[in-house]
Symmetry: C2
Subunit: 254 residues, 2 copies
């Protein structure tokens, strides 16, 4: 029997996580270790300045698992090091409510859980549904992701690489196919909206509009708009190899 670790960044009560749980339990033993509360946009944060709590989560109508007071990366670390009797065969993070394409890969708690998985040497998948509606039907995204998890357990992944999946919020019959993609350059055009509290002191809410800055047809942001599922191989090594030789020509004086 295969062992699967399931986590997310929307929190252990998320519909997306439960949809994925139901599909993954068809292919293996599933351990759920997920944040107690929503931890979106936490990037690859880990909790080192405060203690971590582990709360047993027992829901006869859903599953038994562990709710963690920390971040998605914390969940993966504590699951693998302390909670699971053996190393999982695959780690799956999701189904996230909202896309994790382009530079969102860097901000995403969903992706960071998968990144933590590959740092620990375990093949990992992050999966997101392109709807911010927390009640959106994630069953098809879950079905696809579980099938991909099975394939990953059969074929393996390079040691340094996770798969980042983004599923359009369309009906199964409207999905055109699966595209292997590159991470786009799209980013947010941020606005800080200024408001005043009851004491007249200013505070700011960060908001912004997503800008899609790519047009090539093998980019994550581009294919999902055409109703293709996007699968991007993401690596932990962020070295710009082309730049190494350029920098060696600079006079870097100690």
């Amino acid at each position: 029997m295969k062992h699967i670790l399931l986590t997310n960044d929307d929190g252990i009560d998320s519909n997306g996580l439960y949809a994925l749980y139901k599909e993954l339990k068809k292919i293996g033993d599933v351990t759920v270790v997920a944040p107690h509360l929503e931890k979106s946009a936490v990037g690859h944060a880990i909790t080192i300045n405060e203690p971590i709590r582990v709360i047993e989560y027992n829901r006869a109508d859903k599953f038994n698992g562990y709710a963690i007071s920390g971040t998605p990366a914390d969940c993966v670390k504590i699951a693998v090091k302390s909670l699971m009797p053996k190393k999982p065969d695959v780690i799956v993070s999701g189904i996230n409510h909202g896309s994790n394409t382009a530079t969102n890969v860097l901000y995403s708690g969903t992706v960071s859980a998968a990144t933590e998985g590959i740092i620990l040497g375990i093949p990992s998948i992050a999966s997101s549904l392109l709807s911010f509606d927390h009640k959106a039907d994630a069953s098809y995204a879950a079905e696809f992701t579980a099938r991909l998890a099975k394939t990953v357990m059969e074929k393996g992944l390079p040691p340094d690489t996770l798969l980042n999946v983004n599923v359009p919020a369309a009906k199964k019959k409207d999905i055109k196919g699966v595209a292997v993609t590159r991470q786009g350059k799209g980013r947010y055009d941020e606005i800080f909206e200024q408001r005043y509290d009851l004491n007249g002191r200013a505070y700011y809410w960060l908001t912004g509009k997503k800008m899609i800055l790519d047009t090539a047809d093998d980019i994550d942001d581009v294919v999902v708009l055409k109703n293709f599922i996007s699968v991007t191989p993401i690596q932990v090594d962020m070295t710009n190899y082309q730049m190494l030789d350029v920098l060696k020509e600079w006079e870097l004086i100690p």
Copy 2:
């Protein structure tokens, strides 16, 4: 006159930040926008679920700047979008107390500030001193980093790339030189230390030992141990290009 944005993740009161401020003001107008409190290991977190406060920081003995209630990435966003009259010519994050080599690049708030800079199209540098002692002398690391910032403003950087600097905690005369490096694979072997609170409930502290998993002489972790300053070009595009063709051969069924 060049405009420089200075930030960090140790907080606006950090000695390393002040050491860097003193060197940078020799080469340009410096705006300091840094976290109000320490924000280490926050990765590329941004604050979207709570409001952000901006506190004017006026210290006649040091500098005037802005302390922010959010993360390093928040600092860069709000500085560029709301606080600075024009886009800075360079963003410098540091001097961090503690190394940011290998997989620490992913956890680091220091690096994430520089990453946010390049997402916004501004050449950026992250700089760390290999001593966790918050009173360690960062003046030499600051001197080197300011000189590098000047070079970056002259030569530019590729749009997608920051420079990640790690300076050994040695005396200037003991530094052997500067090495252009790749990001290492070194990571932590984590331990969750279990303790009990006054009500008998368990909690955990995340700790661990850094493991250096590389031996090649062009790796960040390796060169700093030999007393070289490490300069690594880091890019935002995390796509594993070698893996694209492999994945296209997989039967990915929608």
